[in-house]
Amino acid sequence: MTWELLRETLLLEQYNTRLPVLGVAFLGATAGLVGSFLLLRKQSLLGDALSHATLPGIGIAFAIMSTMGFNGKSLPGLLLGATITGLLGVLLVLAIRKTTRLKDDAAMGIVLSVFFGLGVAILKMVERIPGQSAAGLDGFIYGKTASMVWSDFILITVILIVTTAITIAILKELTLLCFDADFASAQGWPILRLDIILMALVTSVTVVGLQAVGLILVIAFLITPPTAARFWTNRLGWMLVISATIGAISGWLGVSISALYSNLPPGAIIVIAAAIIFLFSMIFGTARGVLPRFLRHLQLQRKVGRQHLLRSTYEILEETQQAEPLKNVPIDMDLLRKHRYWAKGELSKLIRQARSEDHIERQPSGELRLSESGFGEASRITRNHRLWELYLIRYADIAPSHVDRDADMVEHLLGAEIVHQLETELNLSNSTIDSPHTIATTELGIQPNPTI
């Protein structure tokens, strides 16, 4: 393989692979769209049961068409057979769910494996039909793209366009069904019919996907793109767009690569491509990705540490002098450490951070001194802390001796607007407020309520 060939395939310049690449990219977009609703309706497993239940239909359709003297491998016939047994499988799951007390997963597990086993057996049996070769039918299990011809492409495209159009036409209804089916039903929406429509949409994607992706992996094509898309957004509209895009990209990449290595099944490559995008989304997704969440947490931790340091310094200044207004004098680092039981390394780190933010200066004597901006910030933070404490004492009935810790957990989140509300609520607008509880005597290093 040369890079030139890969580039030509990806850009649809290769005549042989143009149709499958286009077809499967479009399939991926539709799967991402329809799969979003399958996922939100929490019916992913039903989709899996459906795809496995298509296999007997393929074998039976081949047998019927062959014995009647038609081409046993005509795609429309095979897909029709797949649709029929696929739907039968779903109906069976629903029937088991309704008539027995079996749990959903058991019902689906049974149907899935029985239909698949049946399908494998039927495929073996139809191999013996004289005059027709059943070779290649097992391509439906793992997918086989290279065989797509013009008429197949037209058939698949038409089915996908109809599926997409229906889904877009009933976006609002599907959303309601997935979010709150009871409410929808009370409003007079036909829940059962909507569920059937959703299953029909999933069926058409599955059946079309059989040839390209194969029945074992088509479920991943339906589920992976929307799951990945969810990491990037909290909006359904965007989720649908992103999911469809991820589906299309996975299909496009997967088929292109597998076309060059003829022994690699496209289904597997497509799923691997989708999985890589999923992994990337899980880590970097802006809405719920792991990394952004971790960074936000780290940022909060930093902020909390900084506020503790500044407030402690300010409180020590208050205790060690009677001056009014408060004078910003250097203080000893040991005093600071005892004030909050800081570990030595932790305090050093906080001080380093505060120095880089220009809040604290180190004196030549080794003592620490708040900078001008640090002093203002410390006074503001201390004031907010006490405002919140007073509020808790007055309105939440928290004892003054316990208020410090409770205030500590929330105050770091106080925005300017809330602070303003607190001031009006408490009728306080002076620039300094006395602590409502006694602050630990720093000389002894004792604190009645160790804060977190």
Partner: protein, 259 residues
């Protein structure tokens, strides 16, 4: 038309029995809810309170009996009813905003295939304004507190502009401010002549919140104006041995009849 259930009642339940797996949950329920009342349905856990609402709304099959809305079956009267399900009944991780959920209340009037327009958005915003959280309209619903989520559900019911409100535990696990906001809103609806039916579990607030009361434990133990129905004897019958907290309620009972 049954003489014992005349059509002027917003909700009349006749001979209603509901069973799950052959085990009855509701048994021979007979009920008339008068128009313009703020009615509470009260009973122990597993008494079938939510089931009663759901059976009236045809969300679960009835084994026998019927529920009539102003003398007619529910299918023909849907426009008159707004339903607030239990908050836990949906997945709050769903990728929609508070406004999106409230707009769902307008879907029935919109009908199939129609797109949401500015009019529906405006109505939904006004409903959010009424429940006091219009500033959270664009917030994703998982980022709302329990009380705010309940307010969103309430706004979705308000936007329907119904005559009868079916509410399943609207006060469950909400903060005090929300509870106060909800009850004020219900009283306001009530003052406009709407009928409100509310599944409730807190006996201490029954006499303050509701002017009509249904005591339920598989069957209707008693129903009528709260001042007559909320008695020690009726509570004993409803809760039976389960009511160890009867003494806690003694205080509440003293308040019966007081405004």
């Amino acid at each position: 038309m049954r003489p014992e259930h005349p059509p002027e009642f917003p909700l009349a339940v006749h001979d209603l029995t509901v069973a799950y797996h052959h085990k009855p949950v509701l048994w021979d329920v007979e009920l008339n809810i008068p128009e313009g009342t703020l009615a509470g349905i009260v009973g122990p856990n597993g008494a079938g309170k939510s089931t009663l609402l759901k059976a009236c709304l045809e969300l679960i099959p009835k084994t026998s009996g019927e529920a009539l809305i102003y003398g007619k079956p529910y299918e023909t009267q849907r426009d008159l009813i707004a339903y607030v399900p239990q908050r836990e009944s949906v997945d709050w991780d769903f990728p929609v905003s508070a406004l999106d959920v409230v707009i769902m209340g307008t879907y029935r009037k919109l009908g199939w295939f129609k797109r949401i327009t500015k009019i529906e958005k405006q109505q939904a915003l006004e409903a959010l304004e009424k429940v006091g959280i219009s500033h959270l309209a664009q917030r994703q619903i998982s980022q709302l507190s329990g009380g705010q989520q309940q307010r969103v559900f309430l706004a979705r019911a308000l936007v329907q502009d119904a005559e009868i409100y079916f509410m399943d535990e609207p006060f469950a696990a909400v903060d005090a401010a929300t509870e106060q906001a909800i009850i004020e809103l219900l009283q306001e609806l009530n003052a406009k002549g709407k009928t409100v039916l509310c599944v409730h579990h807190d006996l201490a607030t029954v006499s303050r919140y509701f002017d009509y009361l249904v005591l339920l434990n598989m069957r209707v133990v008693a129903s009528g104006p709260t001042s007559e129905t909320f008695t020690r004897e009726n509570l004993q019958k409803t809760y039976g041995g389960k009511l160890n907290l009867l003494d806690d309620v003694a205080q509440a009972l003293k308040n019966v009849g007081r405004p």
